[in-house]
């Protein structure tokens, strides 16, 4: 029983229109029309579920409620009870987080002479990187150039990106790919060694490098293996940072770690700190499900905000247009953008295309929301979720039988477990919380506004403007991870640390008390979401309430 009977009529309509749609080309909309549709339908522009920050560097700016609570949260550390004269680890560079950015930074910091400690919340390498299926952009084909990559990225980000960051990323991209090739990543190649590259939405050339649809997994495995092979890189698992330590010169000088299993606190003194904690999907902003891994709870944003780092585009969240809606076990997981790059179209309940399948992510997400709300042309599941079809079988008709199985093995595998055969059946999709476009303000080496602190990868902001193109997230982490690691190691050679303290935490708690909001705010960082059932409300959540799209608590 692949799809339930109530979906059959719509699937038949989709199949009936396939021959016609094979030749149907919907043009891309202009950049002016884009502005109009996102403003009307994109969750970033909705007023509900947001509020103004009451303190900190971004005071008076509007943020999603869930993020605002983390930024304004209470510290988990009581400064009076931590003895900073007893240091558990003393290193050159402390890296918080072990995804693609953290491990790239670790390798470059070590190569540049630093003793490195990686503190990570889950296992080494557990991160959003590992689930990244699509690929990595780099302008390395003869008809391409980093300047075109720059232009595409600026346009995709509505020209609100920080140009220096975009150029750093586009320029370093081929070097990052080469670095990974030398570390032993198996990029998809032709027999002569030329890269097999895809064009994703918003890109004027084919420049996305992949490793089947296991790109992030392949790269993460390699980075993790290399980290384990090197001297002078230590790592501690299940031990996240919960607060940064400062010195009396106003420099970041370490962090307090907590052992998640024993609750023991460990102060680390570090000459330089790289916070590479990734994104915030598990905050479920505006109630959306997410593609993010279990630990994506904005830890780095909360810690950096408390030492005085401002955020840029902190309210800009990427809702990936193709998150799974059915079956319930797969709600929120990502259907890679490669599906659309290969010709997979987005189809409504009547078998009609919703928009051009190569529109950038925020545009397509907006079209889907319009189709499912205002136009009532979505397909509603028995759990109350709504979505539109993504026509995957069309790919084999366009590119020949066997293409889906060869190019999308991971996807096919995941759905086959639930008796859905993506080679012959479409998949139901709706926007899902995928990525934080903004983040901690940084320069082209990922240095933040506070000395001694770097913020490469998803936790950093500015490079993607208010919308990120496919293939630029994994690129971002390698490029800025490498830059941060290199510069932090250099900085560690020169800096003189003063006396360590947690005065900023005292000051922060005082301000919360003065505003009389300390009791209302949660502790932050959140560290892990709590999906453990509060007995008796679970069935109600799942089956009795008429849920809004995306409000399922699973996944």
């Amino acid at each position: 029983m692949p799809y339930p009977p109530y979906m059959e009529e719509s699937i038949r309509k989709l199949e009936a229109s396939r021959q016609r749609r094979m030749k149907e080309e919907i043009p891309l909309i202009s950049s002016d029309e884009r502005d109009m549709i996102v403003r009307k339908y994109h969750p970033d522009y909705r007023e509900t579920g947001k509020r103004k920050l009451l303190l900190g560097p971004n005071k008076d700016e509007t943020m999603p409620e869930e993020l605002a609570n983390q930024l304004e949260g209470n510290s988990r550390v009581d400064p009076d009870k931590v003895d900073l004269s007893k240091i558990d680890y003393d290193v050159d560079v402390l890296i918080i987080g072990s995804g693609g950015a953290g491990l790239s930074a670790a390798l470059l910091a070590q190569e540049n002479g630093a003793r490195v400690l990686i503190a990570t919340k889950l296992r080494l390498g557990d991160s959003n990187t590992i689930g990244a299926e699509g690929g990595t952009q780099a302008a390395d084909r003869p008809n391409d150039s980093p300047v075109l990559h720059y232009l595409d990225t600026m346009g995709g980000g509505h020209f609100e990106n920080v140009p220096e960051l975009v150029w750093a990323m586009a320029r370093d991209a081929p070097m990052a790919i080469k670095w990974l090739e030398d570390l032993g990543v198996n990029w998809d190649k032709e027999t002569d060694g030329s890269m097999r590259e895809l064009e994703l939405a918003g890109e004027c050339r084919r420049r996305v490098h992949s490793c089947k649809d296991y790109t992030g997994l392949e790269v993460m495995r390699v980075l993790r293996d290399e980290v384990r092979c090197r001297d002078n890189i230590d790592y501690i698992e299940f031990e996240p940072a919960i607060e940064l330590i400062m010195d009396d010169e106003g420099q970041v000088a370490g962090a307090i770690l907590v052992n998640l299993e024993t609750n023991k606190l460990s102060p680390v003194r570090a000459k330089a700190v790289i916070v590479a904690t990734g994104g915030l999907g598990r905050l479920h902003t505006q109630g959306f499900p997410t593609t993010n891994h279990y630990g994506a709870t904005a830890d780095g944003l909360a810690m950096a905000y408390r030492v005085g780092c401002s955020l840029i585009y902190g309210d800009s969240i990427q809702y990936h247009p193709t998150g799974a809606v059915y079956p319930l076990q797969l709600v929120g997981i990502l259907i890679t953008e490669n599906v659309r790059a290969l010709g997979g179209q987005i189809i409504n309940i009547d078998g009609e295309q919703v928009a051009c399948n190569l529109e950038p992510r925020d545009i397509l997400a907006s079209f889907e929301i319009r189709e499912c709300t205002e136009r009532h042309k979505g397909i509603t599941t028995s759990a109350g979720n709504v979505g539109v079809w993504e026509d995957i079988p069309l790919i084999d008709m366009l590119h020949g039988e066997g293409t889906i199985a060869r190019r999308l093995p991971s996807l096919v595998h995941k759905f086959r477990r639930f008796n859905i055969d993506l080679i012959h059946e479409p998949v139901l999709v709706y926007p899902t919380l995928h990525y934080q476009n903004g983040g901690v303000r940084m320069d082209a080496n990922s240095a933040t506004e506070v000395p001694g602190l770097w913020a490469p990868g998803e936790v950093g902001g500015g490079v993607h403007g208010q919308n990120r193109l496919g293939g630029n997230a994994t690129l971002d982490i390698y490029v800025f991870g490498r830059r941060a690691g290199r510069e932090a190691a250099q900085y560690a050679k020169e800096v003189k640390l003063g006396k360590l303290n947690l005065d900023h935490v005292r000051q922060w708690q005082k301000e919360l008390e003065q505003l009389d909001i300390a009791k209302e705010r949660p502790f932050s960082p959140m560290l892990l979401p709590n999906y453990a059932r509060q007995p008796s409300d679970y069935l109600a959540d799942l089956y009795t309430e008429k849920l809004q799209p995306g409000l399922v608590k699973l996944a």
């Binding site: 950049s31 689930g131 320029r171 090739e181 064009e199 293996d225 595998h413």
Partner: protein, 233 residues
């Protein structure tokens, strides 16, 4: 809808978590069922999407003792299922410098000498939640066929189940890791256009063009963007 009606619609299963019985609704994965039971996961939970290998789980049924292996986030609960998670398993992981290695079978045997003690019991294949033919790639490793190892092991999430079940104490997933890296670095042909582009960039070939765009007024930049040539599929 009243809870009684819900109960009619949703079947409830008995499952045993480390031998403790719970009732959970049909349609959950092992992972979400654990959360339904009230567990807040620390270990044994990662990407929640079948990519990271953090949630390897062994299970069988009260009426059928045959062991099965799955990722908790990808395996649906069934009636009378008995589950135990194995979030971590001790294995040997030698250090090496890829730059100093040769892409040969002898090299792999030097780093993992115990590889030669594999006697083909096939426990590894049976224990793989990704349905990888682990024993096949171990034979390919012994033959020095690195392309076969890379292809066969490419979906490996390194959960460690194969090592947990190996009577010889081998760690197939680590051996495959080394071989895939040797394959990626030494056996896949190098990308010439990549090398050329890296050289051009390092020589500063594109810097002037960027500087020009950088100082282009927004209006004009938007026009250049909208009119840029898009490579046909």
């Amino acid at each position: 809808m009243a809870e009684a009606e819900v109960a009619e619609k949703v079947r409830m299963f008995d499952i045993y978590v480390m031998e403790k019985r719970y009732k959970v609704p049909e349609g959950l994965t092992i992972q979400t069922a654990l959360e339904y039971c009230g567990y807040r996961l620390i270990r044994g939970c990662g990407c929640r999407g079948g990519s990271c290998g953090a949630c390897a789980t062994v299970y069988n049924f009260t009426h059928d003792p045959t062991l099965r292996y799955g990722l908790a986030c990808q395996t649906a609960v069934e009636q009378d299922m008995c589950v135990v998670q194995i979030p971590c398993f001790p294995t040997a992981k030698p250090s090496y410098d890829l730059k100093e290695l040769k892409p040969t079978g002898e090299q792999v045997l030097e780093i993992y000498p115990d590889l030669a003690t594999c006697f083909g019991c096939n426990n590894c294949t049976q224990s793989c939640p990704q349905d990888i033919e682990v024993m096949d790639f171990m034979s390919a490793a012994l033959r020095g066929d690195f392309s076969a190892v890379t292809a066969e092991s490419f979906e490996c999430v390194m959960c460690g189940m194969c090592a947990a079940r190996c009577p010889q104490g081998l760690s197939p997933y680590n051996i495959a890791m080394l071989i895939r890296r040797l394959h990626g670095r030494y056996l896949l042909p190098k990308s010439k256009h990549l090398e050329e582009k890296v050289k051009e960039i390092e020589e500063g070939k594109y810097d002037a063009e960027y500087e020009k765009l950088r100082s282009t007024p927004m209006e004009e930049l938007r026009r250049i963007y909208d009119e840029r040539w898009i490579e046909p599929k």
